[in-house]
């Protein structure tokens, strides 16, 4: 009998748990540890944030799904990993603290034979003074509750515009090292759409404030497309959309502070600026969750297992080297922790070997470096891949390994730009692979033109809307869920 413990019930952890459950016999246990009682389809939070969906449309309780599938669910947060066990038992263990109201703050040590760290990000609002909804001066769409609050703030701003007031709305990244620029991008254009629907677009200055050095970077060093016989860049394509919609932009920005009604930020040239606002939705930078690691004697070995940002180190090449020397092969394939063949980290929890976009420093030494996205489709693929590896190892193949390098898998990014089955739109991008491989695909931005494409139109909204329903269906493990690809 094997005990599998999965930390986190987001896209990566939930996918790993569901696939493993159908792949291995019931004599093996699967335990999912998540501090949240509900599953959240995060890509649709932007629709909650503009008020076209409610919270209940994007979340559902996890416990009934896990009960039905025979997965042990603990509503708790992991606080320590003990890969060598402790003084009483050499079996690996995880210390958890319950967030479940019925057992709140109780602690427990769970033993595991296989551990999957899929804890997702810690939302580091504290990295920027005054950032975020928890006592700060901006809103967020990172969680469903944040998005509900953002929607209320947006509606209040729209009401003021209806009374004739002009408003400045800022949407973007709240720190120079943020990721998920695509989410900020789509929230920007959904706000634009809602302002038009409310008949107040002429009363608003809408500004996209980003750490990207140029539009269309999206934290993946931009994309090149081959369309109508020409190479087009995601930069040109995105600049076109901003110009067409009258959305203003601030590029290469690190936000230092958010005061009530004023964002203080630095640009790549080292200049400091202030931007007054009436409404600001700014994303926080991500870090690893507060998880420590200890050896058998109880010594802190966190530095050997996590990078300084708190992400778990896996089978990547973390050798420090200049941007020009980074290679696609540096990226992990198996997500196995070196020297610990029964521990894996997937989704946002694994430490990327380097940025994909060129990191830059201002003359003041401020780092402005979009972090690599590793959410959504790639997270699901990583979760399933690790599940297959664990399945094979449980079934007597200790050397079995399955691979899913971000430098070999593709991803779709569908950025909604307005809702409606006949009047909606979205910028639909696909990239193959996610991490550009400039040696394998020279002259095409490091990607395969066949899989890399961007287009804007109503079809993009249909894709985004279909994905919303398909992935919630899949996450609920309803009949045939396993045939829906990650």
């Amino acid at each position: 009998m094997a005990r599998v413990v999965i930390l986190g019930a987001g896209v990566a952890g939930h996918t790993a748990a569901l696939h493993l459950r159908r792949m291995i016999g019931r004599e093996h246990t699967i335990t999912v540890v998540s501090p949240n009682s509900q599953w959240n389809w995060i890509p649709s939070n932007i629709w909650v944030g503009v008020g076209v969906m409610s919270k209940k449309d994007v979340v559902f309780p996890l416990a009934p799904i896990y009960r039905r599938k025979g997965i042990d669910f603990r509503q708790a947060k992991a606080v320590a990993v003990r890969p060598e066990g402790d003084e009483t038992d050499p079996t690996g263990a995880v210390d958890i603290v319950y967030t479940d109201p019925a057992r709140k703050d109780q602690q427990e040590r769970l033993r595991y034979d296989y551990l999957v760290n899929a804890t997702g990000p810690k939302l580091r609002f504290e990295a920027t003074e005054g950032l975020g909804p928890h006592g700060g001066n901006s809103v967020s769409v990172c969680t469903a509750d944040h998005a509900v609050e953002a929607s209320a703030a947006l509606r209040a701003s729209i009401e003021r515009m209806k009374r004739g007031e002009r408003q400045t709305l800022i949407v973007g990244t709240g720190h120079g090292t943020c990721t998920c620029e695509g989410a900020a991008f789509e929230y920007t254009f959904n706000v634009d759409h809602e302002l038009k629907e409310a008949g107040v677009r002429d009363k608003a200055e809408l500004i996209y404030l980003t750490n990207e050095a140029q539009l269309g970077d999206f934290g993946v060093d931009g994309m090149l497309f081959s369309q109508r016989g020409y190479q087009q860049s995601s930069r040109m394509w995105t600049e076109s959309l901003f110009t067409e919609r009258g959305v203003h932009s601030i590029l290469g920005a690190h936000v230092h502070k958010v005061d009530p009604g004023v964002v203080h930020y630095e640009t790549l040239d080292g200049e400091m600026h202030e931007q007054p606002f009436d409404f600001a939705m700014l994303l926080p930078p991500f870090g690893g969750v507060d998880l420590k690691a200890y050896d058998r004697a109880g010594n802190d070995i966190s530095e050997t297992m996590f990078n300084p940002a708190g992400f778990m180190k896996v089978d990547a090449d973390y050798t420090p080297k200049p941007y020009e020397e980074w290679r696609a092969e540096d990226w992990p394939e198996t997500y196995e922790v070196p020297g610990r063949p029964n521990v894996f980290a997937v989704g946002i929890a694994f430490a990327p070997p380097h940025q994909i976009s060129r990191p830059q420093k201002t003359r003041n030494g401020t780092m402005i470096a979009p972090a690599p996205p590793r959410t959504g489709m790639p997270s699901g693929i990583m979760g399933k891949t690790v599940a297959m590896t664990i399945r094979d190892r449980i079934n007597g193949q200790p050397a079995a390994v399955h691979k899913a390098s971000l430098a070999k898998i593709g991803a779709a990014c569908v950025a909604s730009a307005g809702t409606g089955m006949r009047e909606g739109s979205a910028a639909a991008m696909s990239m193959f692979p996610v991490v550009p491989d400039y040696q394998r695909y020279p002259g095409s931005g490091g990607r395969d033109f066949k899989g890399t494409r961007g287009d804007i139109g109503l079809f993009g909204h249909w894709v985004k809307y279909s994905l919303h329903h398909l992935f919630i269906y899949k996450a609920k493990a309803l009949p045939g869920w396993q045939y829906i690809p990650e």
């Binding site: 600049e239 901003f242 110009t243 640009t267 200049e271 400091m272 070999k408 779709a412 006949r422």
Partner: protein, 56 residues
């Protein structure tokens, strides 16, 4: 932190960006064309799933 700069970094428009014509905007909502694009996009996703997964 030094004093705020006097010039605004806010970019209001990209002069060299190709702006779509009214016809292009209409095509973006043309149902038959969008159905074809919907199928194409899903085809590319299927290609990624087939090529990118180590699905053994």
């Amino acid at each position: 932190m030094s004093e705020p700069a006097k010039t605004s970094p806010v970019i209001t428009a990209y002069k060299d960006a190709p702006v779509p014509t009214k016809a292009s905007l209409r095509w973006r909502r043309n149902i038959p064309l969008q159905l074809v694009k919907f199928a194409e996009f899903n085809g590319r996703l299927a290609m990624m799933v087939l090529k990118g997964h180590d699905d053994h």
